[in-house]
Amino acid sequence: MPVTLNLPTVLSKLAEGNKTLEADGNTLGEVVSVVATRYPELAPRLRDENGQPYPFVTFYLNDDDIRFNGGFDAAVKDGDEVTIVPAIAGG
């Protein structure tokens, strides 16, 4: 059972309209790489030219902000759920 990625509407348009994707990997970074290869238009929205997450895009691994858990190096396992949320909200 691979990792599930939930995309916001603004990003799902770049993934053929899919709001939920599945991909394999040992770390979140590997999962993002698999998805980036599958949807080249989505790739530059998920990570910068150095392969790191943008300040304006927050990744949650099973509801926890990955910036508290190693960023893209965070280990993932089958059945984990990743939610991607544009960070411009709140306050």
Partner: protein, 426 residues
């Protein structure tokens, strides 16, 4: 983030929200309940019509005392129909506080008495709810640390709109009751504000409601500028030299700067832009960290402070707030929990204003900035007090901090009154 507009029958034909433009990549977007740029995921801001006719000082002065007297700088064409009486709170002279700060003059911009829910969030909800109505949305909502929850619930109740409001489960009783009384759908979330905020991003995306600080955020944020407009007008159409404001998401300091700049560009005021100073509780100071350590990216924190109304560990406008502070020559200050309570008590004792914890942060922050030598003797400083102390009485009664003393209880006898009066003599 395309909204599903389920019941468009209530659309307001007299008010049209301005089109949007990305603050980062400058790509334009149509007016819509959308806050994120499709191209770079940056924030979308409403773009004013550059050819609109701007009013004179006299025209503005002739209008009703509300935020709408500055409507040409708010993100709409036409006239609003909801929340017409919010704004124009007092600007209070505070000479004894000026003395303590070592400055020429000090004023309190007192949004602790904002109509109708006693915080500056009435301003932003007044603009957001008019945008929601114009877009034909029948439900508004928010992620809130309390004050915004109060405001969304009250403004929605008056407008006859449905409201869904999400708050951290551990908010102060006054904030919870002060929301619930307006009969919204109120939900307490087991988590921090940042957890609630993330959930609301997903909620706005899924349900298509007008979440004021998510998908209506561009229209919402512009309401904050009215605090700057009012300060300039109430000072007699001039600018202060410095402004001190609390920071949560970081939007207010950016909008204060924008408001002062827009009035200067319109020729309504002259002179140097005020230095902007931002304050936070040390228990949640990600923007102070940004400024003091000159970071180029927010490092989120887990909040731990009694100043819950500004306890945002992952502030969306953090970088923009840093820019507003640094580029105007200001700085940022973080204050301890004890200093927050002292600040609340000081403002009450010296100026006669009972503010909530965020106001305590502002007053304590101003005192710290003065100690650091940030102010000049000829400075004219405005402190932005954004909320009311009756909503956070826990802070001034907490025995672990600096609680108010016990109130004497006596029998209805003159002898006992005389004894009390005698005891107060030095």
């Amino acid at each position: 983030m395309t909204a599903i507009i389920s019941e468009p029958s209530a659309a307001d034909t007299t008010l049209r929200p301005n089109a949007l433009v990305c603050r980062l990549c400058k790509t334009p977007a149509e007016a819509a309940p959308v806050a994120i740029c499709e191209h770079c995921l940056g924030p979308l801001d409403p773009a004013p019509d550059p050819n609109r006719t701007l009013p004179s000082r006299e025209t503005i002065e002739s209008r009703p005392e509300s935020i709408w007297r500055y409507k040409e700088w708010l993100p709409f064409h036409g006239d609003p129909s909801l929340s017409l009486d919010t704004g124009f709170t007092p600007l209070v002279d505070a000479p004894r506080l000026a003395e303590r700060l070592g400055v020429a003059r000090c004023w309190i911009k007192n949004d602790a008495v904002s109509h109708p829910t006693l915080s500056f969030k009435d301003r932003v909800v007044a603009t957001a709810i008019n945008a929601a109505k114009a877009f034909g949305l029948d439900t508004i909502g928010c992620a809130s640390t309390g004050n915004l929850a109060n405001a969304v619930a009250a403004h929605a109740a008056r407008a006859g709109m449905k409201a869904w409001i999400f708050i951290p489960a551990d908010l102060e009783v006054g904030k919870v009751i002060g929301t619930q009384i307006f009969a919204p759908n109120l939900v307490r979330i087991q988590g921090t504000y940042d957890d609630v905020n993330r959930l609301c991003s997903q909620i706005a995306d899924y349900f298509g409601w007008g979440i004021v600080n998510v998908n209506l955020r561009g229209y919402y944020g512009e309401g904050s500028k009215t605090m700057a407009f009012e300060i300039a007008e109430q000072l007699g159409w001039r600018l202060p030299t410095a402004v001190v404001a609390p920071m949560a998401g970081g939007s207010l300091v950016t909008k204060l700067r924008k408001g002062f700049r827009e009035f200067t560009e319109a020729g309504l005021v002259n002179g140097t832009a005020p230095r902007i100073y931002g304050t936070q509780a040390l228990g949640c100071a990600p923007i102070v960290n940004l400024v003091e350590r000159d970071l180029d990216q927010i490092e989120p924190v887990i909040p731990n402070t009694i100043a819950r109304s500004i306890a945002i560990g992952n502030p969306a406008d953090g970088m923009f707030a840093k820019r507003a502070i640094v580029e105007t020559g200001g700085s940022a200050a973080g204050v301890s929990e004890e200093a927050i309570v002292d600040g609340m008590r000081l403002l009450a004792k010296e100026v006669g204003i009972f503010t909530e914890t965020a106001g305590g942060v502002t007053v304590a922050g101003a005192l710290k900035l003065a100690e650091q030598g940030r102010f000049r003797p000829d400075d004219e400083v405005v402190l932005c007090i954004t909320g009311n102390g009756l909503k956070t009485i826990e802070a001034v009664t907490d025995p672990k901090l600096r609680p108010l003393p016990e109130v004497p209880v006596i029998a209805p006898r003159m002898k006992e009154v005389k004894a009390l009066v005698e005891a107060t003599k030095p």
